[in-house]
Amino acid sequence: MSGLTLQGRNRLRLFGLLSPVTLLIGGFFVAPLLIMAAYSLAEPGMYGGVEWNFYPDSFGRVLGWADGSNEEFDIVYLEIILRSFRIALLTVLVSLLVCYPVAFWVSRLDARKRNFFLFLITLPFFASLIVRLYAWVLILRPSGFLNQFLHHLGINAELDLIYSETAVLIGLVYIFIPFMFLPIYASVEKLDRRLIEASQDLGASRWQTFRKVILPLTMPGVAAGSIIVFIPSLGNFIVPSLLGGAKVLMIGSLVEQQFLAARNWPFGAALAMLLMASVLVFLLLYVRSLSRAEALEGRP
């Protein structure tokens, strides 16, 4: 060690610290991704394997250039992608509307109650996701708890929610609410209450104060929560398979089907690549809005 300059030692230390994470990401993230990318452009074999020929028609089935000689373009895949986007965006919107006011309420509680509430928010993680979703099946099915409860109230609505987009939406919101809540709560708690007072003092009504001070200053939390909820809801396949049935197919379930049931790995990989590309677009938008917010706060 004594032979090394300080700079050399620092460089060695940096190398040592960074190599485990580099190996981890390289081995478990980049390599599988490259394999997937390769598969998406390979030809599906007759009995579920792949032939290593260049074969862009898996993408063509979705995007339109499959002419029917090998694969056929079907608008249904674009519909499924569109539906996935719609459901994911609705999930973001609903969980945002639920979490934003609650975050304010929680941030005003005293420390003991606040910690208890934060514990409650993380409580669902202690039980299996599958079990919790089956509980929703029991609630939402025609003879389920929801209809029984309404019946007891004297309302015979006979809601047929299960296996519908609404059921999928309920399930996704249920799963992702903690992911929306925590970043929003973090930014709401950081919000300086004196700024709200200053705004009112300067003559801004409650609504003006919300629009000009509270919303801009909590925007980083809203953006982070939205991204964290949007991406996994877009690719989610458990909720649509359990609560959406065969009617509400989302792109995540479609990918799963291609890999496990249809055994068309190239098509499954192509769908996954398309999903990833669209998510990347959203991430880029997020990063750009974040750097703009930082520029607004005068940070370098």
Binding site: D192, G203, K212, E297
Partner: protein, 372 residues
């Protein structure tokens, strides 16, 4: 300093209770009366927890009074929300909006009122000019120094020309030097703007320097309202005497009276001589002597002067002045400030020396209600 015209703010019998988390009731304001005239600089002075900030927040609308009336410019304001009051505040922490530029911070009050962009820019420029921050509209508050943020907060609060400007310990975060220059600037700004200032501080020096009138608060009660000189020279009670300036306070009983003077004996046996005034024989009072009222030699006729004798305990040179601490044979500690001019007499100030401190019997102030 004519503030005889109709008051900008009038507060009558203001009461505000708090409940501590332990369920204890605290009286933050306990029957406070206050009126502030147009163009007047009023300071609310007191130790922390005296109710001064509560009073300020009641005027700005962030606290609701339990009872009592609050009138601003002739309008009852008890139920008016903060954003509809013709009052602006400079907050202790400045509370500048971090996501807005300096210009947008200052223009905020105008923007929410729908003032057009062009007029807004002009008025923002003027306000920043007044506080010596012209041309910094584009900066973000995060990039400014504490003193600059202070000025921006000030510009933001005056841009809409409120009837009344409230200042909540705005200088407490600045260093001593900056604080002193800001004190003068604030005073100058106030007379230029011609609007009333209500200034909250726990710093008595600040209060004495800047105010037209000082309101001394303690325990939710007004202890005294008056001009700075009056508060300093003739404090209404022992609290005010002790809180403002250094003081030697003697509990005493009137033992001898003649036409002009009264002689008093303190509770430990020191003899004091004061102007007679309204004093009656055997009356219990408190006598205040400020440290700077003492002299080493009798400055005039010995008839109008009296002295206290004791042993010097400590002498500290504080630049220009000597602070002398002396103990009388009866055991009272007396603090005196002796000017540089008396340096020739320095050997008399050595610890252990016997010293005689002279004061004009006129100067000794007898506190009303000293019997308590």
């Amino acid at each position: 300093m004519s503030h005889t015209n109709t008051p900008v703010v009038e507060i009558k019998a203001a009461v505000k209770h708090y409940r501590t988390p332990e369920g204890q009731a605290v009286r933050a304001l306990d029957g406070v009366d206050l009126s502030v005239g147009a163009n007047e600089f009023v300071t609310l002075l007191g130790p922390s927890g005296c109710g001064k900030t509560t009073l300020l927040r009641a005027i700005s609308g962030f606290e609701q009074l339990d009872s009592g009336s609050l009138i601003i410019q002739g309008q009852p304001m008890n139920d008016v929300p903060p954003y509809q009051r013709p009052v602006n505040t400079v907050f202790q922490s400045y509370a500048l909006f971090p996501h807005l530029s300096v210009g947008d911070n200052v223009g905020y009050a105008l923007e929410v009122r729908g003032v057009p962009r062009k007029e807004r820019d002009t008025r923002v420029g003027e306000a920043l000019e007044m506080v010596g921050m012209g041309g910094l509209q584009k900066r973000k508050p995060g990039l400014l120094s504490g003193g600059q943020q202070q000025r921006v907060a000030l510009a933001r609060a005056i841009v809409n020309r409120p009837a009344l400007l409230l200042l909540d310990e705005p200088l407490s975060a600045l260093d001593r030097h900056l604080r002193q220059s800001m004190q003068r600037e604030l005073k100058k700004l106030q007379s230029e703007l011609g609007i009333a200032f209500v200034f909250v501080t726990h710093d008595q020096e600040e209060a004495l320097t800047m105010s037209d009138r000082i309101v001394v608060l303690n325990g939710g009660h007004v202890q005294q309202i008056g001009r700075p000189e009056a508060i300093y020279d003739r404090p209404a009670n022992a609290f005010v005497a002790g809180f403002i300036g250094e003081s030697n306070l003697f509990k005493a009983r009137v033992s001898v009276v003649d036409d002009q003077h009264a002689e008093l004996v303190s509770d430990v046996g020191d003899t004091l001589r004061v102007r007679r005034g309204e004093l009656q024989l055997n009356q219990q009072v408190q006598v205040l002597l400020r440290p700077e009222q003492f002299h080493l030699d009798c400055p005039g006729s010995s008839d109008s002067h009296a002295w206290l004798e004791g042993v010097v305990e400590q002498t500290v040179f504080v630049g220009k002045d000597f602070e002398v601490s002396m103990r009388t044979p009866q055991g009272s500690q007396v603090k005196a400030v002796v000017r540089d001019a008396a340096r020739q007499a320095l050997q008399r100030l050595h610890a252990g020396e016997t010293l005689r401190l002279w004061y004009a019997s006129q100067a000794a102030h007898v506190l009303a209600g000293g019997a308590r």
